[in-house]
């Protein structure tokens, strides 16, 4: 049972200097430093359990998200956890619809990232108190209770609470078998680690060879900066993996609509399964394939407009488990496969819970489904993902796998952690005459 009064909320600006080696680089984000606003929630309960939540950022501006978390903190402090989860819909609404703060969004950008970090920490704490990994907490939860976590505002024209209930009810059938299957085989994954845009061809070859050896059969490549480069890199990859394995492409929002059509025609020979984020994430009508979105209202329309063939949820851009639940249910209603966005720092750790729950309790299908995997920064987590035969094995530890190692947080705090102190001194030396 959820218990304890929230007595403290602290937030840390944690950054990893990934740009030094080109990890994570794509057409629009050429030099990301994978970072997080990292929230820790404490209660006055005697169990001493803490909730950890993150939202993912790319370095600069993490301090803005930290500032937004602090602005939202007063809505959380001194509340009983049982009151929060007992009326989670009301709490979600309050957090996202404060009469003054909602002007800064609503439910988008910095405030929504901050909302995700806080709610991720609440879910982690709740799951820890229940002694279950988050996916299992969701799987075991009564459908009515699950629904009470979702704010249906703005989506009732395509999904009512009654629709959602029917879906969850149907999802009970065969649940046990699917849970066992997950525990045995895990959830299918694909890898994005081989082909960041900033990697040289030789790095790409080397990483691809290693991934093939490890049993990977699905690969994603970043495209969109230079057509000739794209052709060369896609050919190289397709040649290495052969005609049967799966290749996806990601343009990370770099094209206009006509440009996307033209460019993709030239990459079609490499037979991509999808092209991800061809244009602005706000452009519902311009979308053709797959999209990461910032809230359930955008996802709703992409589904209504038949604008996507695959749907990517995100554990840190949407409003935590609560909002992702509504998107999983809408995807089920429209029969669109969900292939979560992951990578960054912690995104794999978090989103595996959601997609494993989705398989067991909502979609009940693996057809055309797989979860992104990126092999960076897992060593900083206390409960890192376990990948076996290119699949995510369900986490066994209680919580949402959000907790980072204390030492890692300390070292990578910006700008005062040891890692950054050294780097910033080095930078200063470089710009001096």
């Amino acid at each position: 049972m959820a218990h304890g009064r929230i007595s403290r909320l602290s937030v840390h600006d944690v950054r990893f200097p990934t740009s030094l080696s080109g990890h994570g680089s794509d057409a629009m984000h050429t030099d990301p430093d994978y970072s997080a606003a990292y929230v820790i929630i404490e209660t006055d309960a005697e169990d001493g359990l803490k909730g950890y939540g993150i939202t993912f950022t790319l370095g600069k501006g993490t301090e803005v998200v930290v500032c937004a978390v602090n602005a939202l903190a007063q809505q959380v402090l001194h509340k009983d956890l049982s009151d929060i989860v007992g009326d989670f819909r009301g709490f979600y609404r309050q957090l996202t619809s404060d009469g003054q703060l909602r002007w800064l969004g609503p439910e988008k950008g910095v405030v929504h990232l901050a909302t995700a970090a806080i709610l991720n920490a609440v879910w982690d704490l709740w799951a820890k108190q229940e002694g279950k990994p988050l996916w299992k907490l969701l799987v075991d939860m009564d459908p009515q209770m699950l629904l009470s976590c979702i704010d249906f505002r703005y989506i009732t024209d395509v999904l009512t609470e009654k629709d959602a209930y029917e879906i969850l009810k149907k999802g009970q059938l065969g649940k046990k078998e699917r849970e066992e299957q997950m525990l045995r085989h895990g959830y299918p994954a694909y890898t994005t680690s081989c082909a960041w845009l900033g990697y040289s061809d030789s790095t790409l070859k080397q990483l691809c060879a290693a991934a093939l050896k490890d049993g990977w059969t699905r690969f994603k490549v970043k495209v969109g900066a230079d057509l000739q480069d794209d052709i060369r890199r896609c050919r190289l990859l397709r040649d290495m993996i052969g005609p049967e394995k799966t290749l996806m492409m990601d343009a990370n929002q770099c094209w206009d609509v006509p440009e996307a059509v033209e460019w993709m025609a030239k990459l079609a020979e490499f037979k991509p399964l999808w092209i991800e984020e061809p244009t602005s994430p706000d452009d519902i009508l311009g979308h053709a394939a797959i999209s990461k979105c910032h809230n359930r209202v955008i996802f709703k329309q992409l589904l209504q407009a038949n604008a996507l063939q695959f749907l990517q949820i995100d554990s840190c851009r949407l409003g935590s488990v609560n909002e992702n639940l509504s998107v999983l249910l809408m995807a089920k209603k429209f029969g669109i496969p969900v292939c979560p966005h992951a990578g960054g720092v912690g995104l794999c750790e978090l989103v595996q819970h959601l997609i494993i729950f989705d398989y067991i309790s909502v979609s009940a299908s693996l057809q055309n489904r797989m979860c992104e995997y990126v092999d960076h920064l897992h060593e900083h987590f206390k409960y890192p993902v376990v990948i076996k035969h290119a699949s995510y094995l369900p986490p066994k530890d209680a919580g949402y796998s959000t907790e980072m190692k204390e030492e890692s947080v300390k070292k990578h705090q910006y700008p005062d952690g040891e890692v950054w102190k050294k780097l910033l001194v080095a930078q200063d030396l470089c710009v001096q005459p």
Copy 2:
């Protein structure tokens, strides 16, 4: 000629305690304290001119926008103003597409509000250096130069640079006459000051009577919190203004789509010209009438989807003059009248420049067009709007009318200004036993 190197950028958190008297209250924003992140740009030029820019907020969270302005400041500092405006498209792109910072948006929420505040200051400074009010700077600007201020990314599928050039070329015809007309008669306005949701019926009556006496013929009323209240207030207003004058309604995003349809059916007897923001601002497909949006990509789709009959630009939510230009041009292409959003603090001062430019150089029409007016907080501006016969008279002072009185800024800084010190002390006293 633009000149000088930007030597300093400072930003202030300025808040007005409007919630104390219910000004600005609506169904979603019940207690706004009209506020601004207020940017001041200084250069090393000898003229000593400064650029002032604001973005509008509702109180809480203004510090988050201030934090975002500081994150963006390094992109502006030490640049020559002539380099900025000489490649304004490039500068806009740089500000909105930084590889790390764009993750926080892109072009939405807190970072886009911060972008607007900074760019508004740049435009104010440029206009001051040219010795012209901003609308006149735009009107006199060569079409090619105007286009070089616009980032066409993500909108070329509906508006190419060539399309935009044709529109501006055609707009040259009759320009002089329209400018004279504006100087004589001003731009038609409507008032939102009478009918905030938090006002009592007697306040509403009194304000409406005064507005009628002042010659107002177009009125907006806030709706959406309680149907019976709405019916009573709308009847009261319609009875007072008579059947011929214009009434608009604004639900400020409070409904789901089916709810909006049902509710509006019950208010239809009061013959509203439009219903504003019936649902989520992200819901393009759900929109029926009129919408404020956060960027040009959302506006583009509302136009493509025939989802609006009126279009509301905003001087502080969009990326300043640059992005508003692209939206004005798209609206012209689709033949949709633009009726700007104003009010708040400073929005009237700023947006009048854009809509007067639009009439003179782009739309060349006043049919179905009017600019919102709200009678609050103008006394804090150095160059406040001038309303005559319910019309905006074109500003004559150089700049973008963004500059606030030094004394006002000082008094209303949060939390250390005199006004807030007193209020916060009073609040503390209230919560003590």
